[in-house]
Amino acid sequence: MSEEGKPKIIEECKAKFEKRIQKATTAEDIEKLRIKYLGRKGEIRSLFGHIQEIPPEKRGEFGSHINELKTYMEQKIQSVSDQLENFSLDATTEKPYCDLTLPGVPFVMGHQHPISQIIDDLLDIFRSMNFDVVSGYEIEDTFHNFDALNIHQWHPSRNPQDTFYVDPEHILRTQTSAVQIRAMENGTLPLRIVSMGRCYRRDASDATHYPVFHQIEGLVIDKNVNFCDLSGILTEMMTGVFGTRVEVRFLPSYFPFVEPGAETFISCPFCGGKGCNVCGKAGEIELGGSGMVHPQVLRNVNIDPSIYRGFAFGWGIERIAMMKYQIDDIRLFYDNNIDFLEQF
């Protein structure tokens, strides 16, 4: 018996195995080694033959030493054989033919409608500028859609030729401003909000008109805001949408709910103002109305215009999308042809 308590005969067997396996260089060598030690008539088996020579009280221990050695040899042979195999895979040149140009399984990934992608972009932009997003109903009462916005009772835009009526007091909203009016009624000041959503105008559909469209409107009410701040916000917003720095320009225009009111333009993001097909050689693109909130609108929602001022803007999202993707027919958005939707 050795000092470690392992029988000498087992130690010797292990030592010889170590020497031999170091010399093994081929799969054949390994296989011979496996048969010699682990085979039916192998060394391990013959070690068990010695068990009669051991006193009965030590036979259990002897057996477990042999099993330990067996496990060790199995693992060693396996690992050396794995190494040899890897080596030989690298070395051989013959492989089964695999046509890597065959297409993979055509998983279909869907995605959002181009309009809702632009909406998401806008949501990101306005969240980054710390705006709240507000929503509302599409069936709106005439007070919130018109009266509160300083659109008097006989203004042409209230005409049933231009606006869908559900009943004399309710319409399909023509803008999301109604949502902002509600926010002003309910909200605490100051206010920085955007609203987006489906709006309706009674336009027969053609390449540039559709009875349904999406609008984004922004509103800031605070003690100390001015027209230049509006310009700043719009510059950041449109730079975000087109991913290239644009300049905002205003021309005077009339909207009942803003004063001073403006028609808003950006320098063409495609040509930088030189003139191209997208901007119709104008070098700039018209986006829609904006301006300083009319004091009467503030009074309509019980905000004191001598303390608070505001600015607002409201543009069609389809128009932005048409510019961004150079789409020339608004109806494509609502045809939902897969060949169209796939492209975005």
Partner: protein, 807 residues
């Protein structure tokens, strides 16, 4: 508003800015240039017919001698209506008309040199020619200079601007108002007295020509019965007018404003309106009944035959001008056909009034009747200039139409409260605009715009809004004026000020975002549809007495009056269109409102066709109910751990009765999914199965934003066991699974039904079902312990369903 550059130049002479300068300046001061009509650069001449003779051998040709003032020419023409002494348009040989170059032609030994032209041949719009001229040659007033190029003479060789006038600037619905803006913008000294001179509308005017008569006509006067709606009404009588075509100077101004000539009286009234903004109306005095004109509200519903040939019903909200018997005009909107000026008219009653803008806009909107007059009255005309305009008008008419002014004007006038003064501080200007202005700058802009003010405030000005500026009510209105003339280009972007405050994403936005992401990952494309539904299609799904259907009063198409109660209608329509384009495998979704008992936000989706197209390594699999069920349950519902149950749906109009389930969350049905009813598919012409799901989003919103708790992961091994058995075929698989789960309790992780068989070798009342179970006990168990649980499961299944285990 149409502004002819030639006319503008005629007024401003050398001071007139160039076309390019105006094109740039108009939008900068708030007048969008909607269109620029380019000039005609052809040359055709004004000529007078001196003589005409029929050509005997022909039935319809005649021979005319024309003079261009220097020479005479011979032409052959078929226009029998040619008048000797009349002035016409002549294109000499060599002129190209409509792509054809004219030559001298020989008609039966008569040389025809060139031709006389109709309005079409000189490319005139048919709205600027008289009814006669529409059918025959273009006939110009007899005093038109001859031998001149027509296009130069009538200012048509210049561009014409079509300007969009802001709704709140009725003063600029006039040449005079725009002249004020243009001269202010270009710093041209052109005082109001010059601008308003009658010579700009009728250069030959001479004061001495005016004839006045004191002759008393039987007409007695004016009764204004509603002073609120008609605060000011001026009337004048003109006797012995001679109705004729207008002279040259009036005709070319009509052409400049793009107005159709009618007769000299009406033309004069129109010119005055386009130049001075004030609408006028003329009545044939001899066709009025009684001796008074009344301005009153209609007596109950009163019917009225208007000039446009239509009959309108007037109500107590309107205002009429009436004689003692019947209305002769809808005040401020349109006159009647039986009081209008005719060729035989001798004496006229002239109206120059101020009507309450609200009344006119209400009537005009209600009757869908918009006239040049109503669009001005509705916005508010300048009541301060009525007497002035009345004087100019009678002078003009007397000069042009030869009448005599009979007696004094009839006047009804109530005091119109002048608008209150506006105090503007320069600080407020910079507070609102973000740019500074000096008192000097502000004063000089207001002076140019003829807005009176006092320099009595320390930091600002006190403004007295003039009667022609109905848009000036408070300080921002003045701020806009100052900004308009200092220039909007001075607005430069400031760096946005960020509020440092965390604002969480709104739950509904988050929900929208998460759902859209999931649907995309599941291979769905997002659709967007309008919200209207065809009446016929709605009727397929809902009986017309269904409560809560929402209808639009004024749909674009009569047969499409509903707001969609279910977006399946639109989605099926899209599916059909895509299928017809060979896109037969579809997964589409939309987030939008269903309109039934108000508006409710839904997630709707539709699938049809194969789950994937066939490829070299894939057999296609047709989508079926269970595919739909997998999408439905595994996406939003299970992804967000929303506790739900299902039950067979009763919605048999939309869904196949055998293959549809309602989804129930918190005891209410929030949606339904399943196979679309074959009849509905047939209606849409779709010949492949379609599966549809609709689900309300508001009830599930709270689940999407909830933060779940972490459940510790067991260190013990998962254990798989399969079980296969025969059971009565009517016993639902769901119940079997439920029993297994109840028996095994917490330790069962998953059950998969991996085989289901009915048919050969099995009793026809039975089915064979094989279920794989995955357990995790939280600790390792021996095979004997596991076997005990399996035995329990088998025992339960046996007790409840009398199953027969298969080996």
């Amino acid at each position: 508003m149409i502004i002819s550059y030639g006319y503008l130049q005629d007024i401003l002479k050398k001071e007139c800015p160039s076309v390019e300068e105006l094109t740039k300046k108009f939008p900068e001061i708030g007048f969008e240039v909607e269109n620029i009509f380019l000039p005609e650069n052809n040359t055709v001449f004004t000529v007078k017919v001196i003589e005409k003779t029929d050509i005997p051998s022909t039935e319809h040709l005649l021979h005319a001698t024309i003079s261009d003032g220097v020479q005479t020419h011979q032409i052959v023409t078929s226009w029998k209506e040619l008048r000797v002494g009349g002035v016409y348009l002549w294109a000499p040989p060599g002129t190209t008309i409509g792509g054809i170059t004219l030559t001298s032609k020989d008609f039966q030994n008569v040389q025809s040199e060139g031709m006389l032209l109709s309005y079409v041949e000189v490319s005139l719009d048919n709205t600027v020619v008289s009814n006669q001229e529409r059918l025959g040659p273009m006939e110009l007033p007899p005093d038109t200079p001859i031998g001149k190029n027509f296009f130069d003479l009538f200012w048509l060789s210049f561009p014409t601007f079509d300007l969009k006038i802001p709704y709140n600037r009725p003063d600029c619905y006039s040449m005079e108002g725009l002249l004020r803006e243009v001269t202010a913008a270009f710093d041209i000294h052109f005082p109001a007295t010059d601008r308003r001179s009658i010579h700009h509308i009728y250069p030959p005017f001479k004061e001495v020509q005016i004839k006045r008569s004191v002759r008393n006509i039987s007409f007695k006067g004016l009764k204004v019965l509603d002073s609120e709606r008609c605060p000011i009404y001026l009337g004048a009588l003109l006797g012995d007018v001679k109705i004729d075509a207008s002279p040259f100077e009036i005709r070319r101004r009509l052409m400049a404003f793009r107005v159709r000539p009618v007769n000299n009286v009406v033309d004069c009234a129109n010119i005055i309106m386009f130049y001075y903004q004030q609408p006028l109306h003329t009545f044939d005095l001899d066709r009025l009944m009684g001796h008074h004109i009344e301005v009153r509200t209609p007596l109950a519903p009163e019917s009225f035959d208007a000039l446009d040939g239509k009959t309108y019903t007037l109500t107590e909200n309107d205002l009429v001008i009436a004689d003692e018997v019947r209305p002769i005009a809808i005040a401020g909107v349109m006159g009647s056909s039986d009081s209008e000026i005719m060729d035989s008219t001798k004496n006229i009653f002239l109206e120059c009034a101020y009507f309450q803008p609200k009344t006119i806009s209400r009537t005009s909107a209600r009757l869908h009747l918009v006239s040049d007059a109503s669009s001005r009255y509705a916005r508010g005309v300048d009541y301060g200039q009525l007497e002035d305009v009345m004087k100019i008008t009678v002078n003009l008419m007397s000069s042009v139409c030869g009448g005599t002014i009979a007696g004094e004007f009839f006047t009804h006038r109530t005091t119109i409260q002048p608008p209150p003064d506006i105090d503007l501080s320069l600080q407020e200007f910079s507070d609102v605009t973000g740019i500074d202005i000096s008192k000097f700058q502000a004063s000089s802009i207001l002076k140019k715009l003829e807005i009176p003010f006092e320099n009595t405030l320390r930091d600002g000005l006190r403004i007295h809004p003039p009667s022609f500026r109905v848009d000036l009510h408070e300080s921002v209105d003045i701020i806009e004026e100052l900004l308009r003339f200092t220039g909007y280009h001075n607005i430069q972007p400031s760096k946005p000020m960020y509020q440092v405050e965390y604002k969480p994403e709104k739950p509904w936005i988050k929900m929208n975002r998460l759902i859209r992401q999931q649907m995309g990952a599941l291979g769905f494309f997002e659709a967007m549809t309008d919200s209207f539904a065809k009446d016929e299609e709605v009727a397929l799904l809902y009986p017309s007495d269904t409560p809560g259907l929402v209808q639009v009063e004024n749909p674009l198409r009569k047969d499409q009056s509903y707001l969609t109660p279910n977006r399946i209608l639109a989605l099926l329509d899209i599916a059909k269109k895509n299928i017809s384009k060979k896109n037969t495998n579809l997964r589409l979704y939309e987030i939008g409102n269903h309109y039934l008992q108000g508006e409710n936000l839904y997630l709707d989706w539709l699938i049809t066709g194969d789950t994937q197209c066939q490829t070299w390594c894939h057999e296609p699999r047709t989508m079926d109910f269970y595919f739909a069920k997998g999408i439905k349950e595994n996406s939003v519902l299970m992804r967000y751990h929303i506790p739900f149950t299902t039950k067979p749906s009763e919605n048999h109009n939309v869904f196949d009765p055998c293959q549809a389930l309602d989804v129930i969350v918190e005891d209410s049905t929030i949606g339904t999914y399943g196979a679309v009813h074959p009849k509905l598919l047939q209606y849409f012409g779709i010949h492949q199965p379609v599966f549809f799901s609709c689900m309300q989003l508001n009830p599930i919103m709270k689940y999407l934003v909830r933060h779940g708790h972490y459940r510790p992961i067991s260190a013990a091994q998962d254990v798989l066991r399969d079980i296969a058995f025969l059971v009565d075929r009517d016993i639902p698989a769901g119940q079997l699974v439920k029993t297994i789960q109840e028996t095994a309790g917490y330790c069962i992780k998953k059950t998969i039904i991996f085989d289901l068989y009915q048919g050969k070798n099995i009793d026809t009342t039975k089915k064979s079902i094989a279920i794989r179970m995955m357990f995790n006990f939280g600790q390792n168990k021996t095979s004997e312990e596991i076997q005990e649980i399996m035995d329990d499961i088998v025992q339960s299944l046996h007790n409840v369903y009398n199953i027969e285990i298969r080996e």
